[in-house]
């Protein structure tokens, strides 16, 4: 079997073409694949569709907002197309207001479930979330067991950039605490899954098969975050 271990973040993202759908997880600064995002920023792929919980923050850390600011992202699919506070004018907000970037706003649970559906071969699903709101307008409705639902479709990705705690050489992954968030869902929903590892890459057999959060069959490339990598 070809080794999944790559020697650099740049090498691991080198083949991501323009126009790809790229998923990147993270919630409240935890589990963001900053090294891979930095590499994709350097690599320069354009016209990307980006799937993340939010469209970047105002701090100077690298996140999807870094790629947005660099003009690499054509469309953002996320649960926040406006920041919590109006004062936070992120690069995304500026560009969105100027119609320089497209966006699709999805409730967070529906976002997660749409990716899960993509990974699980589900053609569509009915959810009660968003019924009676602006976001349900134009969507197919159906009453099931006395409750109104909307029909939602799968959201697959071309590439997932993942941040995990530990991996084995086959690509089995473990996450620590709230770092897990969207990571396992995106890792299984994307065709190619690229992972940066915080703690270590161990030999196969060293991770307990009962305690693997993403089976290695879903994982294509692993890069250990080096001592000069971005940890937080």
């Amino acid at each position: 079997m070809k080794s999944k271990i790559y020697d650099s973040f740049d090498h691991a993202v080198s083949d991501i073409p323009d126009g790809s759908t790229v998923m990147s997880p993270g919630f409240g600064q935890v589990g963001v694949p900053r090294n891979l995002l930095a590499a994709l920023n350097r690599q320069g792929a354009k016209q990307l569709t980006a799937v993340s919980n939010n469209a970047g923050t105002l701090d100077d850390k690298i996140d999807i907002g870094t790629l947005i600011e660099a003009g690499q992202v054509k469309k953002m699919i996320c649960a926040f197309t406006a920041p919590t506070h109006p004062s936070q004018v992120t690069p995304f907000v500026r560009m969105y207001n100027n119609d320089e970037i497209d966006a699709e706003l999805v409730p967070q649970g529906t976002l997660a479930e749409r990716m899960r559906a993509a990974s699980a071969g589900i053609g569509g699903f009915y959810t009660p979330t968003s019924v009676g709101t602006e976001l349900a307008e134009g969507k197919e409705h159906r009453e099931i067991n006395g409750r109104m639902h909307v029909l939602e479709y799968p959201l697959p990705g071309d590439f997932a950039l993942i941040r995990a705690w530990r991996a084995d050489t086959f690509g089995n992954l473990q996450f620590r605490m709230a770092q897990r968030n969207f990571n396992p869902i995106m890792a299984t929903a994307a065709a190619v899954t690229i992972v940066e590892i915080e703690d270590k890459i161990v030999e196969v057999g060293e991770l307990d098969p009962d305690h693997i959060h993403v089976p290695g069959v879903y994982v294509n490339r692993l890069v250990k975050i080096p001592s000069d990598g971005i940890f937080e």
């Binding site: 409240g28 935890v30 406006a82």
Partner: protein, 223 residues
């Protein structure tokens, strides 16, 4: 506008927290609602759920003792309590949509007398911030709201009908403002408890929707 003292945010959140029952799974929205976790009756065991997949977390971490991997829905470093379990985002929202959350406490811009509320979008700004609010509002067993009674400009927030795009229709059961505690029933807003020194008429004057005084109305209860 009255210059009488209004309720503090902590008092509003304490009051909502007093409604939490033993063994409830409680989800606290970002911002003011997180204050609800500062007062928990020691006789009750409350399980705090955060949408990012943390089930059973504890108080904010002391500075210098943070686990950088453990955050709540607001991105704040919280502590692990014994019995905590971590799930991924799809499983976390499976729990939410599955109706396991006994109460979600959120902030809002507006609440209407039919239980509609709005907290994700201001039409003067493009886009919106939904996060997990729509899933929680549609699927939690109860939605409690904590918000100021009026806008900074003094405009009412308790309305006959929401002006802003709603987060969920007919969702709100209980509302704490800086003027009192309100239930929402098929009769609209019921004033259950009023801020000390405030009368129904004075509160009504700051409210668009019609308020009904509860038969057992009383002064606002503090912890």
């Amino acid at each position: 506008m009255s210059e009488k003292p209004k309720l503090e945010r902590q008092a509003m959140c304490d009051r909502l927290a007093m409604e939490f029952q033993d063994e409830w799974i409680v989800n606290l929205g970002v911002g003011m609602p997180t204050l609800c976790s500062n007062y928990i009756d020691p006789n009750k065991e409350i399980i705090f759920h955060s949408e990012n997949g943390v089930i059973g977390y504890g108080p904010l971490a002391d500075e210098g003792k943070e686990d950088k991997h453990l955050v709540n829905a607001g991105g704040q470093n919280v502590t692990a309590v014994p019995g905590m379990a971590i799930v991924h985002h799809a499983d976390s929202f499976a729990l939410i949509r599955g109706g396991m959350v006994d109460v979600t406490v959120m902030g809002a811009y507006e609440v209407a007398e039919n239980g509609d509320f709005a907290n994700w979008r201001i039409p003067t700004r493009k886009g919106g911030g939904i996060g997990g609010a729509m899933d929680l509002a549609a699927c939690a067993k109860r939605v409690f709201i904590a918000m100021e009674h009026t806008t900074r400009e003094g405009n009412p927030r308790l309305l006959k009908k929401c002006n802003l795009p709603v987060t969920a229709p007919s969702a709100v059961k209980l509302l704490a403002t800086d003027l009192g505690l309100f239930e929402i029933t098929s009769d609209g807003f019921i004033l259950k408890e009023y801020a000390p020194g405030w009368t129904l008429e004075e509160i009504q004057a700051q409210t668009e929707a019609e308020l009904t005084l509860s038969s057992d109305a009383q002064e606002f209860r503090f912890r």
